[in-house]
Symmetry: C3
Subunit: 272 residues, 3 copies
């Protein structure tokens, strides 16, 4: 396993600065629970969210977007056309995209859709331990959207899944683990209130997608996004009195970290 | 009418403790306005929300869920299949479920759907006075999602509705009234800012559903959920400067009440 | 160009007071990203939101609603029936309605839908500069939901669009410009954090719709809503540490402004 990476790593700070500078257009086809929170998280961190979901528009938009997120959290037959079009459009145009296979395994319908989407070669697969173990063929899934396993237990499965699919696999948990099938990078941090706020994992998927547009590699994108989330979560946790004040402080912190990264670079330019 | 019940009632505290301990998997098919808030309220209070809505998944999931919520607030033809499947699946499997007939009456389409769902025997029907009076056959409805009547005016109608359907009826208002057709329990509390936050009533429906998995009876579930909401609302009102700070404080308070109930039990165990 | 208008203008204060007094039933067919925020903004300012979206209900409801909002932000084929029914129902019944043509131009599918809806004669069209320039036939659109032009650049296009359609055109930006094709009213204010919160523009569209039910003219409705938003945004900006605390403070401020307007009138009544 590699060394832990956190926000203090220069590569993470540089990715965050580039995100804020380039404001990548990040197309999100996500679930109805977290759409608003996801858009606000992307805006806070400096990305430009675009929820373009109709089958009539999603494929063409994926070709011009900088990155794409597909999250099957509340997938219905009406949503599938847009997901297919986006995955296909992204693959054809070479737009990097992330698959978030929420609750795959126990629910057969979405499990089939996830299988179909995987064929369009996502750059990153993000999930909790149960979801990753399911996709790796090791188990048959968790409890709804929540994991019944610890992220560390899914590292071997995640590595195998990465090797089989060519995607970087990001396993969310108390410690996040990111692997490209060879390297495994642990990202510690976050806060115990995080799982009490719906959509923190889903929003992380969206932010990894945004970083795909600016980071040197999908592994770096997943590591940088996770490290920024972990830092914002730790800071927010120290201010919060419960999950709602945590969620607000978390989004504010993402904004402040993004601003700080942009300013630090400005200062460096002046120094040069 | 029975004595008022509040959070200080030992049965309410015990239900809350059990909710936090068992974290019941609560399937929610609800309207697009309140999905995020509902999930966050359930997480704050210690339940495990699962928004499984597709017709392909909702019935099977209702069989393994601990409780189910169906709320017709923004129902479209695309949603009805999932609602039907969930109601049927819950009835077959004996999973207790709650029906929230938002804006029933003035809108014919949803009124027919509500009639159809009622045949699957919800354990609880939650609504405002206008909605309950409409279902009881006494009036033809309120103004959109808002009630034009006071909750006390709907007590007789609610009792009749409970007798006819076999469901416990929960009437939301300044004072909530819960009835199984015989007993009527008033639950006072809450705050005047509550109606200024969208989804407080809808989220109460979800929380009653969650309590159905842990309370001794549907009457107790509705009373406990309403009492916890009333207490959190009162506390949040004393901190808030407007509806948004109220909503955040309310969710934080639900979390704190849940934690306190869990700890109080822990202390009792130690004492034993 | 006319004089700037702000909250201190007596006509704005009077419109706000009437909104709070009459609480107009405002039907919203809007995008899935902002539904919750839109409802909360309307409640805060004293309107009564109703998200009635199904084709089976939307037309009939538009006939009894006080005002209607149609926003194509995440439009899918399943949504179009409800939008058509609402636009047609509003036109027939003489209910004033507002069209928010989110991301029109670069996306062909919604551009066709917007063209069709325009035939039902909205009272107001609200958009950012890119959207207004696109509808005016001057350009072909911005970057997703974000504008690539300054609001001042769209004033001439907006005036032409107003003359062609008979609708008042509201152009959102650092300064908002409202025009009926002759007069152009600038509304300054707001805060730099506003574009970092998803849905502030969409919610403004909903609030203009609500004001259509109480203001002397569509021009006044758009001016009053924009002025109230600008004032609330400025005040919220002075309290916020990031976009999430800004969003909460903004909604609280709308509520406080609404309350103050209602009380000021009460005081005036007493004085008389």
């Amino acid at each position: 396993m590699s060394t832990e990476r956190t926000l203090s790593d220069p590569s993470v700070a540089e990715d965050l600065r580039r995100l804020s500078e380039l404001s990548p257009l990040t197309q999100c086809i996500t679930n109805i629970v977290v759409t608003n929170f996801t858009a606000n998280v992307l805006l806070a961190i400096g990305a430009s969210p675009a929820m373009v979901i109709a089958a009539e528009e999603a494929g063409g938009f994926a070709a011009i977007a900088s990155a794409v997120l597909i999250n099957v959290g509340t997938v219905t037959p009406e949503d599938v056309g847009g997901m297919r079009a986006a995955a296909r459009g992204a693959q054809r145009a070479g737009t990097p995209w992330l698959l978030d296979p929420v609750a795959v395994g126990p629910l057969q319908y979405r499990t089939e859709i996830v299988g179909e989407l995987l064929a369009h070669r996502p750059a990153v697969i993000r999930g909790n331990a149960s979801e990753i173990l399911t996709l790796a063929g090791v188990s048959t899934g968790g409890k709804g959207a929540d994991s019944t396993a610890d992220s560390a237990e899914a590292v071997d499965g995640g590595r195998a899944l990465a090797q089989r699919t060519g995607a970087v696999v990001a396993i969310s948990g108390v410690v996040d683990y990111i692997t490209d099938g060879t390297e495994v990078v642990p990202v510690p941090g976050g806060h115990e209130l995080m799982p009490r706020v719906t959509g923190t994992g889903c929003a992380l998927g969206a932010v990894i997608a945004a970083f795909l547009a600016v980071s040197p590699s999908p592994l770096d994108a997943a590591v940088s996004a996770s490290a920024v989330f972990a830092a914002a979560g730790q800071e927010a946790g120290s201010e919060a009195s419960g999950p709602a004040s945590f969620a607000a402080a978390f989004v504010d912190q993402l904004y402040l970290l993004s601003r700080r990264a942009a300013r630090a670079q400005g200062a460096a330019h002046v120094a040069v």
